[in-house]
């Protein structure tokens, strides 16, 4: 029994248990117990991983197990993790855990949590597998619950948003599918196993030229790559709190992770040759998202565009293709996942009380709900890259790493990307200033309650994670950085 399988089995077990019950109390206990178990499991995994890694510093992946599945097609179900996947699993667990508390008072809770568990199965499964087939399968498993989660429990133009989000992401996965099939046949030996393709096989460059864009684009859509990001504002704006958290916090990371693990890792030559096209697109994403966020008035739109900008930075750094930048990219994924989840948790909290997300209709919330407001400020500061919080270490690693590339093109792009930190400050402070500070805009808001205990758990949990990463980045960075070496070697070997 491989410990990694537990990440899929626990949510399956939760689904099974949820089917059996109808009482709100039991549902909550199941979810809390399950989410806690997953969180504990992630921590255990981190510890085990570090210990194993100390014993075996060479192996690319640890905890590898493989079960033959579709033998005639040479498809097997293979799991394994390196430092990056461990980090992503940890992130997922934190967000799943906090998301449960953020959706404490859902109506139709049973159904909601069923879908929620399904979504987490997809997410966990994606991160534990190192087999393109199962990766793709879990990827789609993670996408489809979004439709119902947004469509049923969302707000606003939810049907439109849910449909748009699902179709655009599925459109992306169409590219991805073609790319994966291409990899399957062109690598020289029909196999989906990532490690095998990477280490023993080679995709000819003429095939890489079309497979690389297909896979990068496919994953990039989920990573909110310009110009395929428009699902994000509408989708996030309509989604319920926990779903926004999970989606922006983890699901969008699937995109970055996939670009990294599949597109770049397996096709280094094409990455060198065609990377610049996507580098421009991601560069645009970074600045464009930030500029768009400046003039939005809906809190969730602001955050969604901010995600476009931040996730753009992830892809941007991945395409810089050196160790530091890639480490930064993964750290940015973690950091963005945490802080954007925090944002969405707080926006949900605020929206649940004020029933508006329009920043022009709010004001002076700091006085009314100090706890939530302070958390919001912290989230904002993390987002604009304040040292001591996670955003800073991630962004700086990216910038320093990107700058290590020779060549005017990449240098100029890095400088342009750097500009986003100013624009980020503008929209974050604008939002904070409008909604938290100033006089109270609406008389009715005066009697609103501050965060309830379960909301406090979710926000404090996220803040602790953000602060931990901000204060002790080297632990995270080292774990990630070591896992990037094989990829860098492949890139350098070109």
């Amino acid at each position: 029994m491989n410990i990694l399988l537990l990440f899929v089995f626990i949510p399956i077990l939760m689904i099974g248990l949820l089917f059996l019950t109808n009482s709100m109390k039991t549902i909550r206990s199941i979810m809390v117990a399950g989410a806690t178990a997953l969180l504990a499991l992630s921590i255990v995994l981190v510890i085990l991983f570090l210990r194993e890694r100390a014993i075996d510093p060479i192996a690319e992946m640890l905890f590898i197990s493989s079960w033959s599945w579709y033998a005639p097609l040479n498809i097997s179900f293979t799991v394994g993790v390196d430092g990056i996947s461990v980090a992503m699993l940890m992130l997922s667990s934190i967000i799943v855990f906090t998301g449960v508390f953020s959706s404490w008072n859902m109506n139709m809770a049973k159904e909601f949590f069923l879908w929620y568990c399904l979504l987490s199965i997809g997410v966990y499964g994606f991160f534990i597998t190192i087999d393109l087939f199962s990766m793709f399968m879990f990827y789609e498993v993670a996408l489809i619950p979004m439709y119902l989660l947004i469509g049923l429990w969302g707000t606003g133009k939810k049907e439109y948003a849910a449909m748009k989000l699902t179709l655009m992401l599925m459109g992306g996965s169409a590219f991805l599918l073609v790319g994966i099939i291409g990899i399957f046949y062109t690598s020289g030996h029909v196999t989906f196993n990532l490690l095998e393709i990477a280490n023993n096989l080679h995709i000819p460059i003429e095939h890489q030229r079309w497979i690389f864009p297909a896979t990068f684009l496919g994953f990039g859509v989920l990573g909110a790559l310009f110009p395929f990001h428009t699902w994000s504002p509408d989708g996030h704006a309509s989604a319920p709190t926990a779903v926004s958290m999970l989606h922006a916090g983890v699901l969008m990371k699937l995109g970055g992770y996939g670009c990294f693990r599949v597109a770049i890792y397996l096709m280094p030559e094409a990455a060198h040759e065609l990377g610049w096209i996507f580098l421009i697109l991601t560069g645009i994403s970074v600045v464009y998202g930030a500029f768009s966020a400046v003039v939005q008035t809906d809190l969730k739109y602001i955050n969604a565009y901010s995600s476009v900008s931040h996730c753009g930075l992830v892809l941007f750094a991945i395409l810089m293709m050196n160790r530091t930048a890639m480490t930064g990219a993964i750290m940015q994924m973690l950091s963005h996942g945490l802080m954007t989840a925090l944002f969405f948790a707080l926006i949900g909290l605020i929206y649940g009380r004020t029933h508006t997300r329009d920043i022009r209709e709010m004001g002076g919330l700091m006085k009314i709900m100090p706890f939530a407001s302070v958390c919001y400020v912290i989230a904002g500061l993390a987002s604009l890259g304040l040292p001591g919080l996670s955003g800073f270490v991630a962004e700086m690693t990216i910038f320093v790493g990107s700058f290590q590339n020779a060549g005017v093109f990449r240098t100029v792009l890095t400088i342009i990307a750097c500009c986003s930190i100013v624009i980020t400050a503008v929209y974050i402070l604008r939002t904070v200033g409008k909604i938290l500070y100033g006089p109270v805009q609406n008389e009715h808001h005066l009697h609103l309650a501050d965060a309830a205990w379960y909301e406090k758990i979710s926000t404090v949990g996220l803040i602790l994670a953000i602060v931990f990463m901000g204060f002790y980045p080297s632990g995270v960075a080292e774990m990630i950085s070591n896992s990037i070496i094989p990829i860098i070697e492949r890139l350098a070997g070109v």
């Binding site: 599945w69 579709y70 033998a71 005639p72 097609l73 498809i75 087939f133 399968m137 879990f138 789609e140 498993v141 489809i144 439709y147 119902l148 469509g151 049923l152 939810k158 049907e159 449909m163 699902t166 179709l167 599925m170 459109g171 169409a174 599918l177 073609v178 099939i181 291409g182 399957f184 046949y185 079309w210």
Partner: protein, 474 residues
């Protein structure tokens, strides 16, 4: 005459025996015993289905006009399962006031069409294929017109019989050319003499037209929606799954066995047919209001996917296609089980009738959801695997552009499948919404089988491996 030939026709013989038993039961049953007729038919047919899984001899009979192999047995088994599922869904419809007198006819006619399909699958000669097709089509027209009191049903019958007759005429015309070009109608002999000349190509295209009618490929598809809408729901289910499956199998054998050496020609044709079939099916499906019509167009686009598997022209393509049909059987029939349950309860077949179904009938909704997810190719439903496998098969023949177009079409298809989900889960129910009800036990068994099929066939890889192991050499 060598009677051992009939041993090779075990399944056909069994089917005929069942038909005869049912025929006599139907004739001699009185008012009291009539209620046992339905369970008896189900039991008999289930036995036949199960028996189909016993090992069978392989070989050619009647001078090579009829061939049986593990593959054909498997195909027939798939058809059997599908037919059984259709029977299970039809309980309430057959026991309704209007239909209760005609139960026997329904079973007997349906089983005879099934016999025709057996012959199509096992045909190793174009005449056999033709006879099988006609045996399958003509009773189907009766079935389409089975709701005698309904104008729609009558119209569906007319449309079906006329177009089907024309289609078979066109196919015959094609066959006559093939015969003229090669001098024989035996698959085995034809494959030796087939030449890429205009007469053969004409023959091939006309033949494809005839089969394309059964598969409802564009441009031979226009009857599909009307007949599906007008025919009784169980018949629609039968048409959309069993009839289509049989035609697919026949097409595979004909193309692979006979036209193997001119694969470039028919691959081109199939390439285009598949692209326009999927696209047009999708485009029509997105604005349908009636759920049966909706599934008609959905099944048209599914037919396009089937062609993607066939185009590979290798063992992998064959396996993927057969697997696809199996997946399609479970997925589509799950949907039709729900449709017929709702229709028999409320008499409505509009998509709007499904609005808010989740609130009143959550279990039905879940079955329907699994079904459309499977049709849309969402994991872990079997549809995901079957789609992926046909893509893999097509890619093994280098058809990346086709895959890309088809995969993009999946997105459109997902859109309309999600419309069903939207209606069931998200839309508020109308005033005259379907109330909470309990479906009959047979339908529930049927749904259960479908659900198990949808979930298990994909995850349990043994099924694919088994199909693949029927080492069918081209």
């Amino acid at each position: 005459m060598n009677f051992s030939n009939f041993l090779l026709m075990g399944q056909e013989t069994g089917l005929i025996v069942v038909v005869i038993i049912l025929f006599f039961c139907d004739i001699f049953s009185t008012g009291k015993t009539a209620k046992w007729f339905y369970p008896l038919s189900i039991i008999l047919f289930s036995i036949l289905t199960l028996w189909g899984f016993c090992p069978k001899p392989e070989g050619e009979a009647f001078g090579g006009i009829f061939v049986t192999s593990d593959m054909t047995v498997l195909m027939k088994n798939i058809l059997n399962i599908a037919t059984l599922l259709v029977f299970l869904q039809s309980y309430r419809w057959l026991n309704s006031k209007e239909q209760s007198e005609e139960k026997g006819e329904f079973f007997i006619i349906t089983l005879i069409t099934l016999l025709g399909m057996y012959l199509m699958v096992s045909a190793n000669n174009f005449m056999m294929l033709y006879i099988g097709m006609e045996t399958a089509s003509l009773p189907l027209a009766c079935l389409a017109a089975f709701n005698k009191h309904q104008e729609k049903s009558a119209e569906a019958g007319v449309k079906f019989i006329l177009i089907s007759a024309l289609a078979s005429a066109v196919m015959l015309f094609g066959l006559s050319f093939l015969y003229g070009a090669m001098g024989t109608l035996y698959f085995n002999d034809m494959s030796l003499t087939v030449l890429n000349n205009p007469v053969t190509i004409f023959g091939l295209v006309f033949f494809l037209g005839g089969l394309g009618f059964k598969l409802s490929l564009v441009p031979f598809h226009l009857w599909t929606a009307d007949v599906y809408e007008g025919a009784p729901t169980s018949v629609t289910a039968y048409l959309s799954v069993v009839s289509k499956g049989a035609a697919t199998f026949a097409l595979i054998f004909a193309l692979f066995k006979v036209f193997g050496s001119m694969d470039i020609v028919w691959q081109n044709i199939i390439w285009w047919l598949s692209v326009i079939t999927i696209t047009l099916g999708n485009l029509f499906a997105i604005r349908q209001k009636d759920i049966k019509r909706f599934f008609a167009f959905s099944s048209i686009s599914q037919a396009g996917y089937i062609l993607v598997g066939i185009i590979a022209y290798n063992a992998q393509g064959m396996t993927a296609t057969v697997y696809y049909i199996l997946a399609y059987v479970f997925s589509n029939l799950a949907a039709f089980a729900v449709i017929s349950a709702v229709e028999n309860q409320s008499g409505k077949t509009s998509i709007a009738a499904f609005n808010g179904l989740y609130k009143s009938n959550p279990k039905l909704t879940l079955v329907m959801m699994l079904s459309v997810f499977s049709l849309g190719g969402i994991p872990v439903c079997v549809g995901f695997f079957s789609k992926l496998f046909i893509f893999l098969a097509a890619a093994s023949a280098g058809q990346y552009v086709l895959i890309f177009i088809v995969v993009l079409n999946t997105v459109i298809s997902l859109y309309y499948y999600l419309l069903i989900i939207l209606a069931m889960f998200i839309k508020e129910p109308e005033e005259s919404a379907v109330a909470t009800f309990k479906s009959d036990i047979y339908n529930r068994i049927g749904m259960l089988i479908c659900v198990v099929g949808i979930l298990a066939v994909g995850l349990v890889s043994g099924i694919y491996s088994y199909i693949n192991s029927l080492n069918w050499v081209i």
